[in-house]
Subunit: 493 residues, 2 copies
C-alpha cells in the first residue's frame, strides 16, 4: 500500500532519479513497470515479499558505481541481487528501494590456468566456472545445490557452501580478490592474485557480508585440479543415528571425504517419488552418501576403510560407483531433494543451522520431537560432515496461521543448534530471515562491533538495510519483535 | 633523547598511570626500570629500536582489558608484543608508549580432541600446541621457522606461515575464534567453535591486523589429524631455474605437497658450515625439499611422480626419508637457514615477498642482478610452492651506510615482487618495515578503506600507531619519505 502511495504521490520524486539512472544505464537498463517489477519481489525465501521502487541492470563496474552514487545522492536505500536463489531473503527488497540486479554482468573476464585463477563478473552462474575450465582438467569447488542457476555474486554475498565444502571449504576459501563498489560509489580492490595479501583481510570481510558493505563487480576465483579419481559410496541404515555415527567415525579415522551427506526416510521417499533414481532404498531410515577423491590408490584405500566403518555401524548395503555416469545418478537424488520436497508438499521451508558433528544424533532426535509437537513433517537432508543441517519443514501456506507456526518451529530448531554449541546458519546466510536471532548468538558488544564495521562502509545505512543483524528500526517492527520473543521463550530442554 | 626527556620531565605524568597499572597487574606486572626495558626495544627486526615508556605483563583477559582502558583514559599509545620474534617490526614500540606483553599468558585453556579444537592464551608457544595433542595423533599445522620460540598471539597478529602452509594454509585458516580486547577496552568474541559463523568475518579481519585493531586474549585453534605417512624428498640441481621448474611442474601435475622449499648454493653452504647436516650437497646450485603426506599408498604414488618430475628437470640426485629421524635431519638445515646466515655474516636482513609461482625463475635472476649491482651477497631460502621468497641480504652493520643500502636493496626486491604480480609480504607482515611501501600495492581509496576499518576499532589511533599502512604522521617522517621515494624511483626494468 505504501508502495502504491509512492507511485501515485511521489512520481515527481522519482522522475529525475529515473532519468539519471537511464542516462547511465540506458532505457533498457531501468525497470519501472509494476508488472515487470513483480519478478523481483522476493528471492528463494518466497514467504517474504516486497516490491522494489525501481530495478536497475548494470553491465559494468562503472555503471554499478554510477547507480550507487545516484542512490547515495538521493539517499535511496538499495539492495543488490544476483540470480535471486538465496534462501534467507538476503536479496529481498526493502520498501521504496532501488534493486541493483547483476543479471547482465555475465562475462568471464579472464581464465589463467597456469596460476589457477578465473576472474568473473558477479552475474556469472556458478556452474559456468567449472564448465569454462573442466576441459583443461580444472574445476571450481563450491557447489551449492542451486549451482546451475545461482550466481557467483550471490555466492560471494552469502558465502555459499555445497556438498564439496567439507573437504575444500566454502566460498570464502576460493575468493582471492574482489573489485567492489562501496556505498559511497567508490571503486576499491581488495585481495588479489596471490593469497594472503598484506593489510586487513577485507576480502574475507566482504565475503558473506550479504550486500551490506558493497557490491562485488569483479571476482577472482581460485580453481582446483580435477582429481585423478572420484568414487561415490551409498550406504543405507536402519537408523539415522547409525548414519551419524558413521560420519563421526570416518572423520575420526582421519579421512576427509570430498562430501558426506545424510538423507532421512522422508527425503528418500520424496526424492524417489519425484526424481525416480531407483538408487535410494525406500525402506532405509537413512542413507549416507560419501564422495572420495584423490589419487586412484588413495581413493581405493579410503573406499575400503569407509566401507568397513559403515559396516561396523550397521550399514545394510553399500554400493559404490567410480564412473561419472553412475556417480551422477547417485548424487541426482540429493541434488533434487529440495525440489522433491516441493512436490510432496504444497510448501516447504528450508532451515539452515550448524551443530558440532558430535551432537548429530541428539539434535536430530530433538528435531523429530519438535516435528511431532508442532504436527509438521520435517525431512532431513544435510551436509553431515560439516554438521550443517537442512531440515525441510513441509506445510500448506493456504492453511491460516501455518506459516507463523512453521516460522516458530524454524526458530526452535535454530535455538537447538545454538544451544548445542553450533550456529544460526551454515551457508544460506542470515538475510531478512534470521537477523533478529543474532542477539541469541552474539553479545551486545559483539553486535555493536559489527555495526561499527557496517557504519564505516555504509555510514548512511543505505546498503541492504536491516539485513544480517538487527538495527533498532527493523527490530522495532512488531513481527520481528514477536519472532524474537518466541525464540527467547521457547522451552527446549 | 626524547625518551630521556620524558623520564626526567614527566615523571609526574607517569606516576599516577604506573600506580593504576600496578593496582591492576601487581607490582611485578609492571616494568619501568630503564635497564629492564632494554629487552623490549626491538623485535626480530633488530635494525629498528625504540624503548617503550613502560611494559605491562597481564595474565588474564580482564587484566589486558584493564590495561587497555588505562591507556585509553590517558590517551597513551600502546603496542602488543608476543615473543618478540617478528621480522617486520610489528611489535616495535613507538615513542612514549605502553608495551603490553603477553609472555605470562601461557595457558592452554582447553583441548577438545573430539572436535579438533584447542583454546590457548596468546603467549602459548606455537610448538606447544602440537606437543599437547601429538600423543593423541593430532598436530597444529602452521609452523614458522621460529616455532619453538614464537607465540600463537604473535602468529595471529602477523598471520604467520611456515613450511606446511603450502598444503594447509597460513594461520588464518586455522583460527576458528578469538576473544579480543579492542582499543576502548571492551571484550568481544569473534568467530567461534564451528566454522563460518554468521555475520561479518571479524576473525579473518583480526588475523593479520598486526595489533592495530586489538589484542587477542583467547584463541581457538583447529588441529589436524597426523597423517598416516610422511615422506621427505631432497633433490639437488645444477641450476636454481631447474629447481623452480620442478616446483611448477609438481603443482601442475595436481600434486600438493605439504611443503616445498628451495635453498640456493649460498644457503646450502651456510647451513652446512653451521648446522653440519651432511645432507645438502655443497656443490649444488639449488636443493629442493619436498614433504609429501597422506595415506601410505598415496605418499608412495606421489613420491614416484615427484621423483620423475625432478629427474625430468635435471635433478642429479634424489634422496628420500620416511622415518621421523632422517626426515628431521633433512629439514634441520632448512629450519636453521636464518640462524646460519647470522653465522656467515655479521648481520643479515630477511626480506619477505610473494610472486606468482610462474615467475620464479625470472625474479630470482633479477634478484641475483641486484645482488651484484649493490655488492651484497643474497642467500635465497624460500617457500617455493607458495612463491614466497625469503632473500637473506648479508651485510656488516659496522660499515657506515651499509644498512641504508641494504634497506634500499630490500625495497627494490619488493618492487620486483609487486611488479611481477605478487605482494609485499607473504607471512612476516608489514609492521614498521614496509608500511610506506603499501601505496605501491594499494590505491589511495583502497588504503582509505583500510583506514576507515582501523578508525572504527581504534578511533583514537592508540593501538600500534603507524604500523601496517602509513598515516600522514608516520609518512611525514623524513626517513620513511626517503624510503618511499627511493622505492618509486628505482628503475628495475
Amino acid at each position: 500500500m505504501l508502495l502504491r502511495k509512492i507511485f501515485n504521490d511521489t512520481d515527481s520524486k522519482w522522475k529525475p532519479i529515473i532519468q539519471e539512472f537511464e542516462a547511465v544505464l540506458g532505457r533498457d537498463g531501468v525497470v519501472r513497470r509494476k508488472d515487470e517489477l513483480l519478478t523481483y519481489e522476493c528471492d528463494g525465501l518466497t514467504a517474504y515479499r516486497q516490491r522494489p521502487a525501481v530495478v536497475v541492470l548494470p553491465r559494468t563496474t562503472e555503471q554499478v558505481a554510477a547507480a550507487v552514487k545516484i542512490c547515495d545522492r538521493y539517499n535511496l536505500p538499495w539492495v543488490a541481487r544476483g540470480a535471486g536463489t538465496g534462501l534467507s531473503g538476503g536479496a529481498l527488497p526493502v520498501e521504496d528501494c532501488v534493486l541493483i540486479v547483476t543479471a547482465r554482468m555475465k562475462q568471464i573476464l579472464d581464465v589463467d590456468l597456469e596460476n589457477q585463477r578465473v576472474v568473473v563478473q558477479p552475474g556469472v552462474i556458478n556452474n559456468w566456472v567449472t564448465q569454462a575450465v573442466s576441459g583443461a582438467g580444472f574445476y571450481y569447488a563450491p557447489d551449492p545445490s542451486s549451482q546451475i542457476i545461482c550466481s557467483i555474486g550471490g555466492n560471494v554475498a552469502e558465502n555459499s557452501g555445497g556438498v564439496h565444502c567439507l573437504k575444500y571449504g566454502v566460498t570464502t576459501n576460493h575468493v582471492m580478490g574482489l573489485k567492489l563498489v562501496i556505498p559511497d560509489g567508490s571503486i576499491i580492490d581488495v585481495g588479489g592474485f596471490v593469497p594472503e595479501m598484506p593489510g586487513y583481510d577485507l576480502t574475507g570481510l566482504f565475503v558473506g557480508s550479504e550486500g551490506t558493505l558493497g557490491i562485488a563487480t569483479e571476482i577472482t576465483l581460485r580453481i582446483l585440479k580435477t582429481p585423478e579419481s572420484i568414487c561415490v559410496l551409498l550406504a543405507d541404515f536402519t537408523s539415522i543415528e547409525a548414519a551419524g555415527s558413521s560420519v563421526a567415525d570416518i572423520i575420526s579415522a582421519g579421512i576427509i571425504p570430498a562430501g558426506m551427506e545424510i538423507m532421512d526416510n522422508l527425503s528418500i521417499n520424496a526424492v524417489e517419488d519425484v526424481a525416480k533414481t531407483n538408487c535410494y532404498p525406500r525402506d532405509a531410515e537413512a542413507i549416507l552418501l560419501i564422495e572420495l577423491d584423490g589419487l586412484e590408490v588413495e581413493v581405493a584405500a579410503n573406499k575400503k576403510r569407509v566401507a568397513e566403518i559403515c559396516q561396523k555401524n550397521g550399514a545394510r548395503n553399500i554400493t559404490s560407483a567410480n564412473d561419472p555416469e553412475t556417480r551422477l545418478k547417485l548424487w541426482k537424488g540429493r541434488k533434487a531433494a529440495f525440489a522433491a520436497a516441493g512436490h510432496i508438499s504444497p510448501n516447504y521451508f528450508v532451515q539452515d543451522g550448524v551443530i558440532p558433528r558430535t551432537q548429530l544424533a541428539r539434535v536430530l532426535k530433538e528435531i523429530n520431537a519438535l516435528s511431532e509437537r508442532y504436527g509438521y513433517r520435517i525431512a532431513n537432508v544435510f551436509h553431515a560432515g560439516d554438521g550443517n543441517l537442512h531440515p525441510l519443514v513441509l506445510y500448506d501456506n493456504s492453511v491460516p496461521g501455518a506459516w507463523e507456526q512453521v516460522e516458530k518451529l524454524g526458530g526452535e530448531i535454530l535455538r537447538l543448534c545454538v544451544e548445542a554449541g553450533g550456529s544460526l546458519s551454515g551457508e544460506h546466510g542470515i538475510g531478512a530471515d534470521k537477523n533478529c536471532y543474532m542477539p541469541y548468538m552474539f553479545s551486545e558488544v559483539d553486535l555493536e562491533t559489527m555495526q561499527y564495521v557496517r557504519d564505516c562502509f555504509n555510514p548512511k545505512g543505505l546498503a541492504n538495510p536491516g539485513k544480517v543483524f538487527p538495527t533498532p528500526r527493523t527490530c522495532g517492527e512488531a513481527a520481528n519483535a514477536q519472532k524474537m520473543a518466541q525464540f527467547k521463550e521457547a522451552e527446549l530442554f
